[in-house]
Amino acid sequence: MIRFLIRRLALTVLAVWGALSAVFCLLHFSGNPAVLMAPIGSPPEKVAQLSHALGYDRPLAEQYASFFGDALRGHFPDSLTFQQPAMDVVLQRLGATVLLAAVALAGAAVAALLVGLWTGSREGGGARREWPMWLVFLTQSVPGFYIGVLLVWVFGVELAWLPTSGATTATSIVLPAVTLACGVLPPLARVFRNNLRGELARPYSRTGTALGMSRARVVRHAAYGSMLPTVTVLGLEAGALLGGTVIVESVFSWPGVGQLAITALQNQDYPLVLADLTFLIIAFVMVNLVVDLLYGVLDPRVRHQAGESR
């Protein structure tokens, strides 16, 4: 357990270090980053002033060290468009993204459960049983933004059932959440379905059937057995969702951190892009860490496997 923990934590530290180093290098790639952080068209003396205030005139090594502290504490220069600390703006938008991601994840989990039960609980069955898996396969080959555009077209424009932009009414969340859920449904549905199949093939299920248990009961037990791996994938996808929000929020103008990153980029508000993306990347690494640790606690097999394969 300790070994697993240490390995996992080490990877996290490495990942955070790698990400921040990459950000640091990119920032200094073009020379003085103060040019990017200063309001557009600031005179040279203003840039120099800001460069000093932000410490960009210190030796690179020193800056490199302090950059980590600043980034982890959320200290970034002020947003140019919003004229307040960039991280404040990001955090004000975080709630909308968390809400969207949570709804999408819950929706995807329910859908995966239904698809898995429908296609996995019976042997064979042909196209009539298999069609949901085909749909899932198709979903995986469709870019997220295109799913979003199609949903806007059908449900927003042609049928006019649902709002297609912003977070204005209670129903606003439906389309972005469905789009986001489509991104995580395929792995979830597959893992659950395949594990369900596996459990049903195991002796305890066969014994249950032989002893005259109802099919529903056998499937229920097998489904319980398939939960753990499904939950792990669910957790892993929670991190992936953070990346997906950038595109989905842009399609639907959802006022979260993902859309914020894109509008900041369009407005050349570099401090805000920096704060937003750094925050999201670190959040992604952290979510994955928590999920892995939880899974390690829940299932001892993982700890050993992880210990071996790494």
Binding site: R73, F82, L91, P163, T168, A170, Q268, A283
Partner: protein, 518 residues
């Protein structure tokens, strides 16, 4: 992220804001229609861009930031819907000396916290505006203002370095903060003003809610509750109008005209704006120094095809004019450059361009700033390609675009722009084209001479003759690629009274529901 105090606290705030969104979403039920809102004196307005700051001196975006803030704050004077200057916090004003304006303040004018809006407030605000350390975005609009002086409690003088006819116009953008409040709060994210409304909900870039103040000192607005909803995409604005989620949207794209007209619950107002759209040519450097090239691009573009297709005939091509007919000093009888690609090619050959020496041009357009701007630019670029000119389109944020244009003096060969002058006087608008104007990128003695003399003459006939000479000179020398007036297309829910303005202001205080009790 680790748990240092500021982040954790803010993080919780952020999460709290997000969770607060849940009831906000639930509170706005799908059954909410324009009719329901009319009964409750509510209105929902769609804005094309996010409100980025609540500090009225740190923004110049009239259509978004300042429209919201004008409801919360008051200014000395205001620009009325008919474009005249009217009273706001100042009830009267006059010029007591060439460089001294005297303003008498409304006796009951006061801020929401009860503090009176008096001469001290004005003096403090002018000082804040002019303090270079504050680096406020509004400051460059007051090039002549030196200081404010208190005469008595309700009287204040503004002093300029030179006689400045534009001061009043600029003052209609200057919203007054309460000094003590402003030093203790963050004006960028909080607001407490002396206007007809107070802000009840705001997050950077998010929806904004206003409520009418019961203790407002001026005339009570008919609309009691206002929601400004940020709808950056044109499609979202149109679908919001069609579904009844939005009551009023200004500056719509004519592409959607037919769809909007087909909806009987919407009222469409088409009006002539005072803005002229054209593609400005940098005559100071590069290929556009040659008047033949400037004329060639004018001949190459089929303006009529663009207005009839992309703009759905909401406007007519400009007859080679820099301003619309609503300006005083407008010259009748000019004709625009006809669409004549052969002539354009011939002019280019004459200027020395051809297969051996292709003409390459850069064309910049500010993203999302002008109605249909990006589409028009693509059409123009393609028509130029058809006469053998290769055009590179750059779409840049408005702030960057203006920066390059005015501060860095680095305008590209061509840029899409719309220009207007608030006083609707030819002298003002032509002032943007005289040699010493930073806007001009055109040094023409004949034009500049005519305009300067016209500005200095009081004889109307002589003045109009001089402006006519200037207009014909501009048509002939083509410092721009003449296009058309910017289309003005506004939509409101049936039953909402709102006289669309030819400028960009969207003010809920100017709206009312038909048959409403209040």
């Amino acid at each position: 992220m680790n748990g240092t105090p500021p982040l954790t606290r803010r993080g919780l705030l952020g999460l709290g804001a997000g969770l607060a969104l849940t009831p906000a979403l639930a509170g706005c039920l799908p059954g909410d229609t324009p009719r329901d809102r009319a009964d409750a004196s509510r209105v929902v307005i769609g804005l094309s861009a996010a409100v980025t700051t609540l500090d009225p001196m740190n923004t110049t975006s009239v259509g978004t930031d300042l429209s919201v803030l004008s409801s919360v704050h008051s200014s000395l004077v205001t620009r009325e819907p008919d474009l005249t200057i009217g009273p706001d916090a100042a009830t009267s004003w006059r010029r007591v000396a060439p460089t001294r304006w005297r303003f008498h303040l409304h006796p009951r004018a006061a801020f929401a916290d009860g503090t009176p809006l008096d001469a001290d407030v004005v003096v403090w605000n002018v000082r804040r505006l002019l303090n270079a350390d504050n680096a406020l975005r509004m400051t460059p609009n007051f090039p002549s203002l030196i200081r404010a002086e208190k005469v008595d409690r309700r009287t204040v003088d503004l002093i300029t370095s030179r006689p400045d006819a534009d001061l009043l116009g600029a003052l209609s953008f200057l919203y007054l903060l309460e000094p003590r409040w402003a030093t203790r709060h963050k004006p960028a994210t909080q607001a407490m003003g002396s206007g007809p409304y107070t802000i009840t909900s705001y997050s950077p870039g998010g929806t904004i809610e206003l409520r009418a103040r019961d203790d407002y000192w001026g005339p009570a607005p008919a609309i009691r509750r206002v929601t400004f909803r940020i709808t950056p995409s044109e499609a979202a604005r149109v679908s919001g109008l069609l579904s009844g989620e939005l009551d009023a949207v200004a500056g719509l794209d004519p592409q959607d005209l037919n769809r909007l007209r087909a909806d009987r619950d919407l009222r469409i107002q088409r009006l002539d704006t005072t803005r002229m759209a054209f593609i400005k040519l940098n005559t100071l450097k590069g290929p556009m120094r040659d008047v033949r090239v400037r004329r060639a691009v004018n001949y190459a573009v089929d303006k009529r095809a663009i207005t009839s297709s992309l703009l759905k005939n909401t406007v007519d091509p400009s007859p080679g004019q820099l301003m619309t007919p609503s300006y005083s000093g407008y010259t009748e009888g000019l004709t625009g450059y006809p669409h004549d690609p052969d002539r354009a090619r011939a002019l280019l050959r004459e200027a020395g361009y051809g297969t051996g020496r292709p003409l390459r041009l850069e064309l910049t357009v500010p993203s999302g700033q002008y109605v249909a701007g990006e589409l028009v630019v693509q059409a123009v670029a393609q028509q130029l390609r058809e006469i053998g000119v290769s055009v590179k389109i750059n779409s840049v944020p408005f702030a960057v675009y203006m920066q390059k244009y005015l501060q860095q003096k680095a305008m590209p060969d061509m840029q899409y722009i719309t220009q207007a002058w608030p006083t609707l006087a030819a002298g003002g608008l032509y002032g943007l084209f005289v040699s010493d104007s930073p806007y001009a990128y055109w040094h023409d003695e004949e034009f500049t001479g005519a305009v300067t003399r016209a500005r200095g003459t009081d004889d109307r006939a002589e003045r109009d003759t001089l402006y006519g000479r200037a207009a014909r000179r501009a048509r002939d020398q083509a410092p721009v690629l003449f296009l058309f007036p910017q289309p003005g297309l506004h939509a409101t829910a049936e039953g909402l009274n709102w006289r669309a303005r030819p400028d960009d202001w969207v003010r809920p205080a100017e709206m009312s529901w038909k048959g409403a009790t209040r």
